[in-house]
Symmetry: C2
């Protein structure tokens, strides 16, 4: 465990700025005095793109690489063509730093709203593959814009890429009390990728006899997310299916305002990146209305990744206690950050 943290901060667009400020506030409050926190902010996102046409220049990618971890707010603005910042900045970071474990915990805290009747117990973690699948940018279009256009998207899956994330998920499942791992894919239609995933999953399962395993097609999984979410413990899935089901998971566990995520390179070869699952929400940006809790919970994941388990747990307990006392009165972004910083302060 390092006694200093050198953090890259990418606030990004819209509410990204506001929520990251609160994340840093809580991070400062929770860290022991002898841990030196250095932060460097990178001006990346829509404004930068409008100003210079750049999304993530090589020099900045190199600079970010030197940090211990990255805290990211949100990327995207309607003024930028769809895909430019997603591919050129967010996914570029995930791919360049080989963030093959995209970790997305879903927990229904007490006293939070869920659209589900009967408030089922929900406490699971999605391990989303982060560097392959249909996210590789592999595809193209021919005769673009004509009635004869053909556009393709290629999902790329390798034994190397699938096995490492499946292993990570088995280890996480084994470390949890229920020790259950569900593979989510669509192997009855996507037979080539599906067989690779299923065979790898079954092979690694043999090394984890104490982990209960299960397989669900992605379409069926969405049904269980709303009818029986308590059946899930750890889920491992591909990049695109993981994208879809984690938004649904966030929706049933109190909404996207609470959903944290880590883009993790478990080898430590590159800095891992922590970000709320939500987007930049330009409609409410700058009004102090954004809930910074998802970012603050992402800071907890960041601390856990860097070895500060006690501090990570302290943040999670603070969030739980804060949510338990929320009475529906609207609080500003800043007020929520202050409340949580107050709770975690030594």
């Amino acid at each position: 465990m390092s006694r200093s943290i050198n953090l890259a901060v990418i606030p990004g667009d819209g509410i990204g700025q506001e929520v990251v400020a609160q994340g840093l506030k809580v991070l400062n409050a929770v860290l022991p005095e002898d841990v030196k926190l250095e932060t460097k902010e990178y001006d990346l996102g829509a404004r930068r793109w409008h100003r210079t046409g750049e999304t993530l220049p090589d020099a900045e990618l190199e600079a970010v690489k030197e940090h211990d971890a990255i805290l990211l707010g949100a990327i995207g603005d309607p003024s930028v063509p769809s895909g430019v910042l997603e591919r050129g900045l967010l996914l570029k970071l995930r791919f360049a730093f080989d963030h093959f474990v995209n970790l997305r915990p879903s927990k229904l805290f007490p006293n939070t709203a869920t659209p589900l009747a009967g408030r089922p117990e929900i406490d699971f973690v999605v391990v989303r593959e982060g560097t392959e699948g249909p996210y590789t940018g592999n595809g193209g279009s021919l005769r673009t814009g004509t009635p004869a256009e053909v556009a393709t998207e290629v999902s790329v899956n390798t034994a190397y890429g699938v096995e490492r994330v499946v292993r990570d998920a088995f280890a996480r499942a084994q470390a949890r009390p229920r020790k259950k791992l569900t593979l989510v894919h669509k192997n009855n239609v996507l037979v080539f990728a599906g067989h690779l995933w299923k065979n790898t999953f079954d092979k690694v399962a043999a090394e984890y006899p104490d982990v209960t395993t299960d397989y669900l097609h992605v379409d069926a999984a969405t049904i269980f997310f709303v009818t029986q979410p308590e059946r899930f413990d750890v889920i491992v899935t591909d990049n695109l299916f993981g994208d879809i089901i984690t938004d649904l998971a966030a929706a049933v566990t109190g909404g996207i305002g609470l959903a944290a995520s880590g883009n993790i390179n478990p080898t430590g070869a590159f800095p891992s990146m922590f970000e709320p699952v939500h987007g930049s929400a330009p409609d409410i940006a700058g009004q102090g209305k954004a809930d910074p809790t998802a970012t603050i919970l992402s800071v907890a994941l960041l601390l856990r990744h860097l070895g500060y388990e006690a501090q990570a747990a302290r943040i999670e307990e603070a969030v739980s206690a804060d949510l338990a006392e929320r009475d529906g009165t609207a609080r500003t972004t800043d007020a929520i950050g202050d409340a949580l910083a107050g709770r975690v302060a030594g």
Copy 2:
């Protein structure tokens, strides 16, 4: 409107047999006396595959092609390797008969269970593309079974294929009171396919100025399915996204036991195929426990497609009335079929 219906019946596997029997019972009951109904059953599915190794021989495909429409129960059994029957039978029919409109209505009937608190009003239709996307079987694997394996899946999208289904969806939206159409895709990541879909959607939208349009990424769409399903009227989307969101839609509108679908070729060049969204449910097969309502509602879609609007509406009203009177007492598959046949009988 033909005064005779020559129907191909593919009961398939598991509960498929039981629910199709009820669908035919209600079809017989609702048809005017002067309409001649002929049915021919095709023995296709898991048993056939075990017996002969065949999924859908050419001669049978040719024979099925001569019918006015197809009623299908469910395909699939755990004893058959995943993908064999799906690709070799179900998808083969959808592709051979160019079922480019996969129509899936979602309506929350009164007095039915939904996992959503507060019972939002839900009444929308998903127009799922049925002949392209990642369902074309385009892909492969290299060095299969080795640590160096690469497996790909190619999503194929053509201007021809996208435009025809988008046009169908606009026409359906225009014919409904709310006249709203939402495109669901993931054009911030799947930029090639996404741009084709979005550009086609925007182009056709210009011809339908009275239809309100909207775009959602598929991940965000799943959130609204549980937090604000009343915002949807008609949705148009690609084959895979449509697969995923229609299972979720079924889950929030009373479950897969009520979800009907039509695989439609609107040109009439080939017979259209109607089937419940649910699978073969081998765990409850042969016990009279399956709810045949989804199949019976699929029969309504079949009748509407063949021009029997009054009869289609009669079935839907009967289902609505039957659901309104359900008191939670379990009824057998047969009893539900009898009740609905009784209600629709002239």
